[in-house]
C-alpha cells in the first residue's frame, strides 16, 4: 500500500477551539492526540492527549501528585471546568501546551517508508504532502499497523473497515464491526 491510499481525513481543531471542545473531539474519535489545523485545514501541529489531560490538573498537583488524593468528587469536577477557560491558541502561546509539527511523506511512499519515518520521528501521525506542497491527508499509526497486519496475513472485519474508512467516520466503522 502507498501513503496516498492510507491517507485519511482526520478530525482537527483550530487555535480558537476551547480546551473543553478539544477534549470532546479526542473523546469522540478515540484519538491519541489533538491535530491542530490552520485556516487551509492542513494539520500544522499535533498535541498529545496527555497534555490536554494535564490541563485540568493544577500545577501544584503535577508537582506533588499525592495532593490529587485530597480532592473530593465535587472538587475534582470543579477543576475540570478549567478546560473552558482558554482556547488551544492561548494555551499554546502560554506554553501550557507543547505542539510538535508532524513529519511528512510523499503520496507514493510505501508502507515501510511510512513506518521508518514514524519510528524515526517517534510520531504516531504523519502528513502526506506531494512534491508541489499539496496536502493529501494524514496517516495514523493504527492504519499503518492495520495495513501491516493485513500484509502479514491477519484479517478481520474491523480491520478491513479501518483500512476502508476514514478516521472521521471511525465510530460508524466501529458500530458496523460490532454489529
Amino acid at each position: 500500500m502507498r501513503a496516498a491510499e492510507l491517507a485519511e481525513r482526520v478530525p482537527t481543531v483550530r487555535r480558537a477551539t476551547s480546551g473543553a471542545e478539544a477534549a470532546r473531539v479526542i473523546a469522540e474519535y478515540r484519538f491519541p492526540g489533538l491535530v491542530v489545523a490552520g485556516d487551509d485545514d492542513v494539520p500544522i501541529a499535533v498535541i498529545p492527549g496527555s497534555q490536554l489531560l494535564a490541563l485540568v490538573l493544577p500545577s501544584f498537583v503535577r508537582e506533588e501528585p499525592n495532593l490529587a488524593h485530597a480532592y473530593d468528587e465535587a472538587g475534582a469536577d470543579e477543576l475540570c471546568l478549567a478546560l473552558n477557560q482558554a482556547t488551544i491558541g492561548e494555551l499554546l502561546d502560554a506554553k501550557r501546551l507543547t505542539a510538535t509539527r508532524p513529519p511528512s511523506v510523499l503520496p507514493e511512499d510505501t508502507l515501510i517508508e511510512i513506518a521508518a519515518v514514524m519510528v524515526h520521528e517517534h510520531h504516531p501521525l504523519i502528513l502526506v504532502i506531494d512534491r508541489n506542497g499539496d496536502y493529501h491527508g494524514t496517516v495514523m499509526m493504527s492504519r499503518v499497523l492495520a495495513a501491516i497486519a493485513a500484509a502479514a496475513g491477519q484479517d478481520s472485519a474491523l480491520m478491513r473497515r479501518r483500512l476502508e474508512t476514514d478516521l472521521a467516520q471511525g465510530d460508524a466503522a466501529d458500530d458496523g464491526a460490532t454489529e
Binding site: P58, V61, E63, L67, A70, A74
Partner: protein, 433 residues
C-alpha cells in the same frame, strides 16, 4: 602577602560576586572557584580531602546527605500534606488562622528536618489550600520561607549554616536547643504578629470557600500507613540519636547516615527512589565552598583576618558579639548565608576557638554568627536557599514573586527579629552569664 595568597583572595572574591549576582548557577561557580584554587596552587589534594581545617567538611556533607535520604523516604508517606490540610481544617478554613498553622508547621518542620526540604514539602499543599480558599498564595509562601529560616535557627540540623557552625565549633545538638530554641519561640510569636500586620488583617473569610477546604480528604493523602508508622518511629529514633550524641559518641553525621540506612532498609525503597531526593548540586556546592575557604586558611588569609579582628576587638566581646550578629544579618542578606558562614566559621574559630572551651562572653560569637546568618537570610529574596526555592515554586505555579516583593517584607522581618536577637545575645551571654 604572597602571590599565591593574593591570587587565592582574588579567586575567592570573584567567585563570591558571581554567586551573589547569580550570573551562573551557584554550584558551578563554587566548583569553578575550587578548581581555580587548585590550579593556582593555593590548596592540594591532601588539604582538600583529608585536612579538618582546610578541606571539605565531610561531617557537614554526610549529615546533609543522610537527612536528604531520610526526608526523601518520609515525603513518600504524605504526612506533610496530611498535617497541612488537617491543620487548615482545624483552623476552620479561616485564612489567617490557616496561615498561622502553616507557618508553625513550617517552623517546626524546619527545625526537625531542614528548612529547604520543609518548604519544598509545604509549598505545594499551600497552593492547594489557597486555590480552595480562592486566595493569593504569595503572602502564604513568603511567610513560610521566612518561618522556615526562623524555625531552622532552633536546631543543629535546621539550617545549613548551623550544620557548618556546629561542625567547626564542636557544638552539640543539645547546645543549639538550649541556646537558640528558646529565642526562636519568641521570634516566632513576633513573626506571627508581623504576618498579621503585613497580610492577616486584610484577609477575609468566605464561608463557601472555607467549606471547600473542609471538604478536602486529608486522610487520602496518606498512601502507605505502614511506611508512615515506620518513618515516624525512625525519625523519633534519629532525633533521640541527635539529642544523645554527646553521650553515645555518635556524631550527628553518623546518626543521620545510620537513620538513612535504616529508612532505606525498612521502607524497601528502590535506590532510584531514595537517591532521587538527594540534592547533589547542593552537596557539590558545599564541597566547592569548603575547598575555597580551605585555600584561604591554607594561605594564612583567615588567620590574618582573625588577627586583625582580634586587635580591633581587644577584649570587647560584647561589642564584638553584637557587631558580628548584626554584620552577619546584613551580609547574609546580600550573599547566601551558606557561603557567608562557610567563610566566617574559621575566622570565629581563630578568634575564640571551639565553643565548649570558650568562656560565655567569647562563646557568644558562635551564637551571634548563627542568629545573624540564619535570621539575616530573611532579608532578601536571595538571602537563604529556602527563599530561592519558594520563589521558584511560586513562579512555576503562575504566582511570580519579584525580588522586591520578597525583600520589602524581608527587610522589616530581619530588622524586627534582630531587634529581639541582639538584646538576647547581650543579656544571655553578658548580663546573666
Amino acid at each position: 602577602m604572597t602571590l599565591t595568597a593574593a591570587l587565592a583572595l582574588a579567586v575567592f572574591v570573584v567567585t563570591y560576586v558571581v554567586i551573589a549576582a547569580e550570573w551562573v548557577h551557584r554550584t558551578m561557580a563554587a566548583l569553578c572557584g575550587a578548581a581555580a584554587m587548585v590550579i593556582i596552587g593555593a590548596v592540594d589534594a591532601h588539604a582538600v580531602f583529608f585536612s579538618e581545617d582546610t578541606g571539605i567538611d565531610w561531617n557537614v556533607i554526610f549529615l546533609l546527605f543522610g537527612m536528604m535520604v531520610i526526608v526523601g523516604v518520609l515525603r513518600r508517606t504524605g504526612v506533610f500534606e496530611y498535617l497541612a490540610i488537617r491543620s487548615a481544617q482545624v483552623a476552620g478554613g479561616q485564612p489567617f488562622r490557616t496561615m498561622v498553622t502553616l507557618v508553625v508547621i513550617t517552623a517546626v518542620g524546619s527545625a526537625l528536618l531542614d528548612n529547604v526540604t520543609t518548604v519544598l514539602l509545604i509549598a505545594p499543599v499551600t497552593l492547594l489550600l489557597c486555590e480552595r480558599l480562592a486566595l493569593n498564595p504569595v503572602p502564604f509562601l513568603i511567610a513560610e520561607a521566612m518561618a522556615s529560616n526562623i524555625g531552622g535557627t532552633a536546631t543543629l540540623i535546621g539550617d545549613p549554616p548551623n550544620i557548618i557552625i556546629a561542625s567547626r565549633a564542636d557544638l552539640s545538638f543539645n547546645s543549639f536547643l538550649v541556646h537558640l530554641a528558646p529565642i526562636v519561640v519568641v521570634l516566632m510569636v513576633v513573626f506571627i504578629g508581623l504576618c498579621w500586620l503585613f497580610w492577616g488583617r486584610r484577609l477575609t473569610s468566605d464561608p463557601e470557600r472555607a467549606d471547600a477546604v473542609l471538604a478536602l480528604e486529608a486522610r487520602e493523602t496518606i498512601r502507605d500507613p505502614r511506611l508512615l508508622r515506620i518513618m515516624l518511629v525512625l525519625l523519633l529514633g534519629v532525633l533521640v540519636g541527635f539529642v544523645t550524641h554527646t553521650a553515645t559518641g555518635l556524631d550527628p553525621s553518623m546518626v543521620a547516615l545510620l537513620g538513612a540506612g535504616a529508612a532505606v532498609l525498612l521502607s524497601r525503597t528502590s535506590h532510584q527512589e531514595y537517591l532521587e531526593d538527594v540534592e547533589w548540586g547542593t552537596l557539590l556546592f558545599f564541597a566547592g565552598l569548603f575547598i575555597m575557604v580551605g585555600a584561604l586558611v591554607n594561605q594564612g588569609i583567615i588567620t590574618d583576618l582573625a588577627g586583625y579582628l582580634s586587635e580591633r576587638v581587644d577584649g570587647q566581646w560584647l561589642t564584638a558579639a553584637l557587631g558580628l550578629t548584626a554584620a552577619s544579618a546584613v551580609l547574609s542578606g546580600i550573599i547566601d548565608n551558606i557561603p557567608y558562614v562557610a567563610t566566617m566559621a574559621p575566622v570565629v574559630y581563630d578568634l575564640v576557638g571551639p565553643a565548649p572551651t570558650a568562656p560565655p562572653d567569647q562563646q557568644s560569637l558562635w551564637w551571634g554568627l548563627a542568629l545573624g546568618a540564619d535570621l539575616g537570610g530573611n532579608a532578601t529574596a536571595i538571602g537563604a536557599s529556602a527563599n530561592v526555592v519558594i520563589i521558584g515554586i511560586a513562579a512555576r505555579n503562575g504566582h511570580p514573586i519579584t525580588f522586591w516583593t520578597f525583600t520589602k517584607y524581608g527587610i522589616v522581618v530581619t530588622v524586627v527579629t534582630m531587634a529581639v536577637a541582639l538584646p538576647y545575645v547581650a543579656l544571655r551571654y553578658f548580663t546573666f552569664a
